[in-house]
């Protein structure tokens, strides 16, 4: 089982990339679980054709412990096991603590033992703003952290902060930094700036994605690119990226 936590600035395309990666792994025959770690609970929407799902925290709130593992999981495109941690209403409660509670509950209900996924991907909210959002990289959860960034300054700044958080946790047995994924926004010196960042954080750019209108078109259709435009170059880019992720995680592609 490989376990990956994907971080990056809000709006950088984490959920889109993660969902397409999940679909690519699933196409290849792997059992994949995608866990959205964001109170907005929209990580898996394109795998579920726009259908909303009951979040783990909503189940805990409404039913305490009186629910099953199956209640927390919805099967999406290509059999991807979709989970949304959920969280409080905007401006209320504590979203970070919510992530901890949701992931604890998922583990307690035996999600990893019962489904035995080959690939687990945690799609984590924007930035590591508090301890709760580092939960997916804690011991027992993800093994590798991947950071998605473009060449935009704010995205690079956020990526550097995340890399710093991973570095700060190195003596705690947390996940290690697997690398950066460049999601191109076609800004000036984009490759160069992301490469500089990679060197600054002692990491590498493990893959890149071109900017494509097909990504937005697929999103409008509430589908992944791999489903909506299976034969497109963009779909191939996601498949290739999945193979690169597999390689750095030691999964035979």
């Amino acid at each position: 089982m490989i376990k990956i936590a994907v971080y990056g600035k809000g709006g950088i395309g984490k959920s889109t990339t993660v969902s397409n990666l999940a679909a690519a792994f699933a196409e290849k025959g792997f059992t994949v679980m995608q866990i959205g770690c964001d109170p907005k609970a929209d990580s898996t929407v394109s795998l579920l054709h726009g259908e909303s799902m009951t979040t783990v925290l909503e189940l805990v709130r409404s039913r305490k412990n009186d629910f099953t593992l199956e209640d927390m999981v919805k099967v999406g495109y290509q059999g991807v096991l979709c989970v949304e941690a959920g969280g409080p209403s905007p401006g209320m409660g504590c979203a970070g603590r919510g992530i901890i509670a949701a992931l604890d509950k998922l583990k307690e209900k035996g999600a990893y033992d019962i489904y035995q996924p080959d690939v687990v991907i945690y799609d984590v909210l924007g930035d590591v703003v508090c301890g709760g959002f580092s939960m997916p990289m804690r011991g027992g959860y993800a093994d590798k952290v991947l950071i998605i960034t473009s060449g935009e300054n704010m995205a690079i700044h956020a990526a550097a902060n995340i890399a710093m958080a991973v570095e700060n946790f190195k003596d705690r047995g947390y996940a290690t930094l697997g690398g950066l994924i460049l999601n191109r926004r076609n800004v000036k010196r984009e490759e160069e700036k992301v490469q500089e960042l990679a060197e600054d954080v002692h990491s590498t750019v493990i893959g890149s994605l071109n900017h494509s209108e097909l990504v937005l078109d697929a999103e409008e259709m509430h589908k992944t690119v791999l489903e909506a435009f299976s034969d497109s170059e963009m779909a191939e880019e996601y498949r290739f990226l999945a193979s690169q992720v597999a390689e750095i995680c030691g999964l035979e592609w």
């Binding site: 970070g96 603590r97 301890g131 709760g132 580092s134 804690r138 011991g139 003596d171 705690r172």
Partner: protein
Amino acid sequence: MRQVARRISTYTADVSGVCSALYELGGMVVMHDPSGCNSTYNTHDEPRWYAMDSLIFISGLAEIDAIMGNDDKLIDDVVTAAKQLSPQFVALARTPIPMLNGTDFDAIASVIERKAGIPVFYFPTNGTHSYVYGVGMALEKIADYYTGDGCEEQSDCDADGIRVNLLGVTPLDFSVTGTVESMKELLKEEGFALVSCMAMGSSLEEISQAGWADVNLVVSSVGLPAARLLQKKFGTPYVVGTPVGRFVNQIATDLRTAADTGKSIISCNARPDSVDSKIALIGESVLSGSMAAAISQVHGKAVKVICPLEAEEGLFVPGDVRASEEEELEKILKDMSVIIADPMYRPICPEDAAFYELPHEAFSGRIYRRKIPDFVKILQ
């Protein structure tokens, strides 16, 4: 009003349970809390506080450190203290604030262990469970960590008679009024050899020999997790019951049978059903069940055990009740004619019922300590 104790006390919480279980073992126990858990423990839950030294610490978690996630302060303080004081181990007990914060104690424990070079145990207490949970997991951890595959020096473990560990011994159930010494003396008189007592009066070295016992005696439900662990690790059977008064004969017989057959025995439910009984005994499951058995032997009456603490179904007989809420308890007690309980239960007992005081350190602390009996010597 549910889940509120308006007129009665509440039981010692899990954090103090961890401290109590580890008090005599030479470790350093750190409650990660602003301060409060410490005074509750040393003022109300720990009768050995002024008579015996132990390394019990509060971290002094400050608001700003909680907000800023400054775990390094805890780590540095513990490592510094551990290097100065050279404890056998460090135990970290969680309290409500780090529980709400989601502090990653597993990671903190591994960092401290690496820096201090001694074992570090983390106990996920949160102040909402009773001492039964806290003591239970602390003794289980100690039994697991310090017992190997058996002692290398066979001669150390050789002893005349059946070898026994006493499991689940803390002042929270037995206070410091003679019961613990009497239990040990009794085992000796009955021809048993005591390997270790978890955890009063035994060193870690003695506890490390626990795997050599032929049978374990679980005298409080807090000892059950350790008993199960030792059974899994060494195949040692266990007997669940407290040697109370005349009931000691049953305990002695069951210990011999369990050692002989290798099968565990729940002794504290060897007593009449209590469905129609109007005699109530409130308290911890194993001690209360054993006392109910002793009363039944001496007076020929069935006793209804009312257990307000965490307990397993198998420890009870039909008619016993598990209830923890004040309203629920009051409702049950109104039909009773005789009640044996800690004096702090009196406000919810019917006035026309005969009330016999049986103080419990984990419920009323030191207030009635001088009235806590030596359980071995009563009900003869």
